[in-house]
């Protein structure tokens, strides 16, 4: 038995983890999982939300806390069953044992202690670094994650998200672990930062030769990084194979489904399930075949949204700092029925533009005109008129619906506010909207409360609400970034389909170039508030000219590019 497991650093046998609540049956999250990790191996653990991957990661580092409990099986770390260790034994095992880099690096550091204190706390707890070597060692560790030594004197609140995530990695590294578990280490970070942090993790793993597990919802990132991938679905590992095999010869249908949602936005033809591939010339053809306004209940002709030389400067956040220019001299026009992408990393000003167009905030200079409305100087009482025509689809379906209102209430309100329909007619309209977004049987969905819906269904309700006023423009702010990969295509296809059927114009705000390629004709790339490149989506993405666009394209996780040789 022990002879067999000698070359394996970690050996998990029939591990089960359940969530227990008093007076209720335990809900299994991990169901009898078994796997081995060889010394020095870099393994990915992929799954969508609720697959049990994070629970498994916490269990193998013995960090699962109530209500989660290990209900069965063993975790042999270097021959010792750590599932049965006492608290103090476990604590001392953590040095030179197993370390964890948690999901949200934002909150993993104690806000009232400096980074240096964090290192010293660890050194003191294990006594493996002598008092007069502490500073040298801490400097060396932050150097390994490419941070300057000055961060040691900083408080977590003074660091950027990427720096904090690097600091947590350095702290975990200070344990000199043989196994490191990274739980979604870059999820909360901006695309470009995410790419840089992942590069650091890869280099570290090669240099230090620890065994590593990368937990992620993003198969692309995992395939780019790891040698072997375990795919988790519904509490079980459904496929466990070398990365190359996962990419080229996926066995399980779930893996195949995940893979099908990746693509290269630079390719000549791009498609994911549910969205037809767009030929390079499709953009111009689509513009020509726009449905006319007459299809839309005889309302006035569609208006063009004209944004001209708009800037937004926020007052300096603190004394002694510079005012922040969120948007800098941006001009564009959104033609009737057009679909335009606004892409950029977080902080590029794309969400600010959405706020300016919808009258939520006012530009510092420049003009925004929609029909007879001067949006840049809109009066309070005109806001309702604007919102009737310009609607919004929000990023997070979990906060965009009031948890206390039924779907029917949520959809009825805009119908009552924006149309003359009342009573049974209004209700008919609500059911029609539900049908439009594919939530059938409509009667059933109308009666539901948001918590009874899945993320994808919630986002469909959000879209139905945006359609309720029969608007001319829909602004979709990262509408799929909070959804699981498998659900994204469906929602995108719905948006695209609605645009073509009703002829609404769409401003699609995203950091995800692949989806921009799939659903838009025109694109604008924003960097620090300024447009650095714009044009037809397919030509811009296939032949990017600006340095920043190229960097964004390089940051797109792409299994096809993975180094699986």
């Amino acid at each position: 038995m022990s002879l067999l497991s000698v070359r394996n650093l970690l050996s998990v046998r029939d591990l089960s983890v359940g969530y227990e609540s008093p007076g209720a049956v335990a809900v299994p999250a991990v169901k009898g999982v078994s796997f081995e990790l060889a010394q020095g191996e870099f393994v990915g653990l992929v799954g969508e939300s609720g697959s049990g991957k994070s629970t498994l990661g916490l269990a193998i580092t013995r960090l699962a806390k109530a209500p989660a409990r290990i209900t069965g099986g063993s975790i042999l770390f270097d021959g010792t069953d750590i599932a049965a260790l006492s608290a103090e034994n476990l604590r001392s095992q953590r040095r030179g044992g197993f370390a964890m880099v948690p999901q949200s690096g934002m909150n993993s550091l104690n806000p009232v202690r400096t980074v240096r204190d964090h290192f010293y706390d660890i050194f003191r707890a294990h006594g493996h670094v002598s008092v007069h070597d502490r500073l040298t060692r801490a400097r060396e560790l932050v150097g390994k994650v490419e941070l300057p030594a000055t961060v040691l004197d900083r408080y977590p609140g003074e660091l950027s998200g990427g720096m904090r995530q690097r600091a947590t990695i350095a702290l975990a590294l200070s344990l000199e672990p043989r196994l490191m578990v990274f739980d979604e280490p870059t999820t909360a970070l901006d695309v470009l930062v995410q790419q840089a942090v992942m590069a650091t993790i890869r280099q570290l793993q090669k240099a230090e030769n620890f065994t590593a597990v990368l937990i992620s919802h993003d198969l692309g990132i995992v395939l780019e990084t790891t040698q072997r991938v375990m795919v988790m679905h519904d509490g079980a590992i459904v496929e466990d194979a070398p990365s190359r095999d996962i990419l080229l010869r996926p066995q399980h249908e779930y893996t195949r489904m995940l893979l099908s949602h990746y693509g290269d936005p630079r390719a000549d033809v791009v498609s994911v399930p549910g969205i037809e591939s767009r030929a390079p010339e499709a953009g111009s053809a689509a513009t020509a075949s726009r449905p006319t306004r007459s299809a839309r209940e005889g309302r006035a002709a569609l208006e063009t949204l004209v944004v001209d030389g708009v800037s937004k400067v926020y007052p300096r956040p603190r004394r002694g700092e510079q005012p922040v220019t969120a948007v800098n001299d941006v001009s564009f026009s959104l033609e009737p029925g057009q679909s335009m992408a606004l892409v950029g990393a977080s902080g590029s000003g794309k969400s600010t533009i959405a706020k300016l167009i919808t009258g939520v905030e006012r530009p510092t200079s420049g003009s925004i005109v929609f029909g007879d409305l001067r949006v840049d100087a809109i009066r309070r009482r005109d806001l309702k008129r604007l919102h009737r025509e310009v609607q919004m689809v929000f990023q997070d379906p979990y906060t965009a619906l009031n948890p206390l209102h039924s779907v029917e209430y949520i959809l009825t309100r805009p119908v009552l506010n924006y149309s003359t329909l009342r009573g049974a007619d209004a209700r008919r309209r609500v059911l029609e909207l539900l049908d439009t977004v594919g939530l059938t049987p409509v009667e059933q969905f109308a009666a539901k409360l948001p918590h009874q819906l899945s993320g994808g269904q919630r986002q469909r309700v959000v879209i139905a609400r945006a359609l309720a006023s029969d608007p001319q423009v829909i602004i979709a702010d990262e509408p799929v970034s909070m959804l699981d990969v498998s659900l994204r295509a469906g929602v995108l296809a719905l948006l695209e389909n609605l645009r073509q059927t009703f002829g609404v114009s769409m401003l699609y705000i995203t950091h995800d170039l692949l989806s921009a390629r799939l659903v838009t004709d025109q694109i604008m790339v924003l960097n620090r508030g300024s447009v650095v490149e714009s044009g037809e989506t397919s030509s811009v993405l296939r032949n990017p000219r600006d340095e920043y666009t190229i960097r964004l394209l390089d940051a797109v996780p792409n299994p096809g590019r993975a180094d699986v040789a």
Binding site: S21, P22, K65, A66, P67, T358, V360, L383, K384, H387, R388, Q391, M392, F394, Q395, D396, T399, A400, L401, N402, P403, L404, S406, E408, Y409, I410, T412, R413, P414, N417, Y418, R422, G423, A424, D425, A426, R427, V462, R465, A466, A468, S469
Partner: protein, 303 residues
Amino acid sequence: MTDTTIKKTFASRRGTAPLLMLGRAFAALWSSGKARIGLVILGLFVLVAIFAPLLAPYSATDNSFTRGDSGSPAHLLGTTGAGEDVLSQLLYGTRISLFVGIAAGTLATLVAVLVGLSWGYARTLVGDVINFVVNLFLVIPALPLMIVIAAYLHDGGIGMIVLVVVITGWATGARVLRSQTQTLRSRDFVTAAVFSGESSARVVFREILPNMTSLIAGSFLASAVGAILGEAGLEFLGLGDVNTVSWGTMLFWAQNSNAMLTGQWVLLFAPGLCIALLAASLALINFGVDGLSNPRLREGATR
């Protein structure tokens, strides 16, 4: 009329949903051991207050008995220095404390909700002024302010006490509710309601307000406790109407008739215990309410 049908569907939803929610909230409260004890104690006090005339052996103001009786079959808890039955006074006194707690608690919470919500939702310069006023009321010691106001409006009775408690007690709740309003205001569903063409009032009262029911309940319970203790304190100092029968005035008379020297400890002990029990029951219920709004504080959610 089609209009009425849809109104009916909403009316029925409005009618049932809050009731359902109330029921669910009660069940959740009941499942917490501490809150359950609080609810039982509070329930007993409410019953006593309602049925005081049936439960009390004598009238509370009847002073025809032997003075200073320290307990006999006819007067289980004895009689006061003025010859009234202590048990009857105690039972009737429940009414005053409960009334003050509920009335002052409700009014203070109402002010707190109105100030907290408008202050949290509006983004105007007025906000800074309100901020200052609320902070002022937060740091000014309430009881001395109550004493001073009560001294000017001498012998004002229960209404005066309720008023004084409300003036001094609304600020804490307003602050808590404001910060929650600010949190909720930035949620997408509030922005979405504005995009749905809702008026500001409707956004505040139909979108934001229902999401803070447990905070409002907590704020009510805290102001009710403050009101009950404040009322007792003022009456104990003789600043209320000393002729009403309440736990506070009982203690006032006990102190003034030197119950300590005569060894009538029940006179001192019983009213104070009732005040403490009533206040503690509300504090215990607040434990459960805390658990409703903050899952980490729920019982059984051990580490």
